[in-house]
Amino acid sequence: MNRIPLASVARFVVIAILVVFAGFPVYWMASTALNVSSQLYNTGQVPWPQLGNLPGLIHELGQVPLLRWLVNAGVIAAGTSVLSLLLGSVMGYALSRFRFHGRGAIGFLLFMTQVIPEALIVVPLYAMFIVLGLLNSLEGLVLANVGFSMPVTAFILKNAMDAVPHEIEESALIDNCPRIGILTMVILPLIAPSVAAAAVIGFFAGWNEFLFAVTFLGDPKLWPTSVGLASFIGQYEVPLSAVMGSALVFSLPAIVFFLLVQRRIVAGLTAGAVKG
């Protein structure tokens, strides 16, 4: 009879615990969403989903412009991701391939952008956005988000580009390919996993962002889901089941997006860790 090795059992137990830890918030979100709000406040939450409350939940979510919020969040996330990739790939390429004065200083400044808290610059940014006419616009919010996500993107792509042999690039130069062509047709396809990882980081930076969105977007039609969810909080009551229902819907596109690029991300985050 085959005996199951102890190490396999231990591994299974550890993975199971991790899955429970990661998955429980999502389950609790779903479970709360399917409880009636009054029940939540009176008798407490039933730990398992009350599927009978599903039509009520759907009706409740129909009362808020959830689709518009999702579309706005999608536009902001996609814009942040794409613009971060465009600017970050060019900057990463310059930092990886060219030696110039101030290269180290630029690297340091990029790092500094990650140290400064968003709350610290929200007021100066607000003043700038008034001058530039970017208040109450999704484009302006995308620009603000890019300011934070692009340095991360640039660093990820720079590190990946460092691992691409120079000969491949020189070979493309000999083949009459200009620098922009080398970047888009040779380098970026070679570091596709890192590009995917950077895209995800940019996407989530835009998708989850709240502080800039709640500050710069006064028009409810432009709200993304993160601001929309916060608007549920009333003076006397918070409709918890609706909040959780909306949060669940808000999470789903992000989870789907992550699952789609997950394999590439894992390769990207471990790229260069071993000699290939």
Partner: protein
């Protein structure tokens, strides 16, 4: 085909001068090999010809025009890298077609997304496809056209790299140690393939290597380099038979040329150390001391005292068809049996000599096979007429 000329071409990295004042010219259609040890500046020179490395001083002329600032494409060269430098994400077909596709691109075609569409369109062009197929057929790559480089062997990858350089029909081929990543058998095969290719295309090839066998078997002319300076420019036979200095004499040939420092004494006597002397009945240089050079295959080995120079067998290397015997000249005090092989005189013999370690032997050579070098500078000396008088 461009006529290439170097005029005092120099390259420095900071304060480190890699090449200082290189003067040479490349003839149309020749197979020129830049030969030298690692770090001698030969690859840097090749990269300067290609436009991949900036020239610090002097002029590089293409057909009489200073090309120092020309882009790699303006020079119309093909470059085969040591590491092949294939595009891993493209198929063999995509790799070979890439230079042709780039030639068809306009500036705005390089915009992301547009470039993908334009590349797809270019790849569907029957003329381009025919060019790729023709080159693939020439290099026997047809069955591999739809595979990616990762699934190819080293030799196949090198052929793809060659095909990519051939497809544009450039006027000048630059090859930077293209065979050094291959195993010995494949290297031999690729050597003859590249030589055949050179004959077929009839263009100028400049080939960088540190492997003297590659240089001797493929080149029509060799430039031997050391420390960024030209040591000798000659045909392979000229380099082997008439080395310009002791560096070339030792660098070319395996085993290298034997160099024996001698004193020139009365009556054409050559003296080595305290106790060894023999008569050299041939032309001698006009110097009190010099370095005698004899190729291993030009030495004759005697198992007794039949030769001119008394010696002792120290090393025997059996190579199958031939044997290389390392001998120590009998110029040492009794009891000194140092094993430094740099001091040995090597003899190359067909078959097996029937000698053993420690056997007494003697060596002889024909005087016309002797080369002479200056003791101080190492430069080749011309031997004068046969002398019978003491050296002044």
């Amino acid at each position: 085909m461009p006529h290439i000329e170097f005029r005092k071409v120099a390259k420095s990295f900071g304060h480190n001068t890699v090449i200082g004042g290189f003067d040479a010219s490349v003839e149309d259609g020749e197979f020129l090999v830049l030969l030298g040890p690692s770090g001698c500046g030969k690859s840097t020179l090749l990269r300067m010809i290609a436009g991949l490395t900036e020239i610090s001083g002097g002029s590089l002329l293409f057909d009489g025009h200073v090309a120092n600032d020309w882009t790699p494409h303006q020079r119309g060269v093909a470059f085969v890298f040591q590491s092949y430098a294939l595009y891993p994400h493209m198929t063999v077909r995509g790799n070979i077609a890439f230079p042709l596709v780039m030639d068809r691109f306009r500036k705005w075609h390089h915009i992301p997304v547009v470039n993908a569409i334009q590349r797809w369109r270019a790849m569907r062009d029957p003329e381009l496809a025919a060019s790729v197929e023709r080159i693939a057929r020439q290099l026997e790559l047809e069955p591999l056209l739809d595979r990616r480089p990762a699934s190819l062997s080293g030799g196949q990858r090198q052929r793809v790299a060659l095909a990519r350089s051939l497809v544009r029909n450039p006027s000048l081929y630059l090859l930077d140690e293209p065979l050094s990543n291959l195993d010995a058998k494949l290297r031999t095969q690729m050597r003859s393939e590249i030589s055949t290719l050179h004959r077929e295309v009839g263009k100028t090839f400049i080939y960088v290597t540190h492997d003297q066998v590659e240089a001797m078997t493929m080149a029509t002319r060799i430039i031997v380099m050391n420390h960024g300076e030209i040591q000798q420019v000659d045909t392979p036979d000229g380099i082997y038979d008439q080395p310009a200095n002791t560096f070339v004499a030792r660098f070319v040939g395996a085993p290298p040329m034997n160099l024996i420092p001698v004193r020139l004494a009365e009556g054409s006597r050559l003296e080595v150390g305290a106790s060894l002397a023999w008569t050299h009945a041939g032309p001698l240089p006009a110097a009190p001391a010099a370095i005698l050079g004899v190729r291993p295959e030009k030495l004759r080995l005697f198992s007794g005292t039949g030769g001119m120079i008394a010696a002792q067998v120290i090393v025997i290397e059996r190579l199958g068809a031939e044997t290389v015997v390392g001998c120590r000249l009998d110029d040492r005090p009794a009891g000194d049996h140092g094993l430094n092989t740099d001091d040995l005189v090597f003899v190359r013999i067909a078959g097996h000599p029937g000698l053993h370690h420690g056997d007494a032997c003697s060596l002889s050579y024909a005087v016309e096979d002797a080369a002479w070098f200056d003791s101080a500078s190492g430069r080749r000396l011309e031997a004068g007429p046969v002398r019978h008088n003491p050296v002044a």
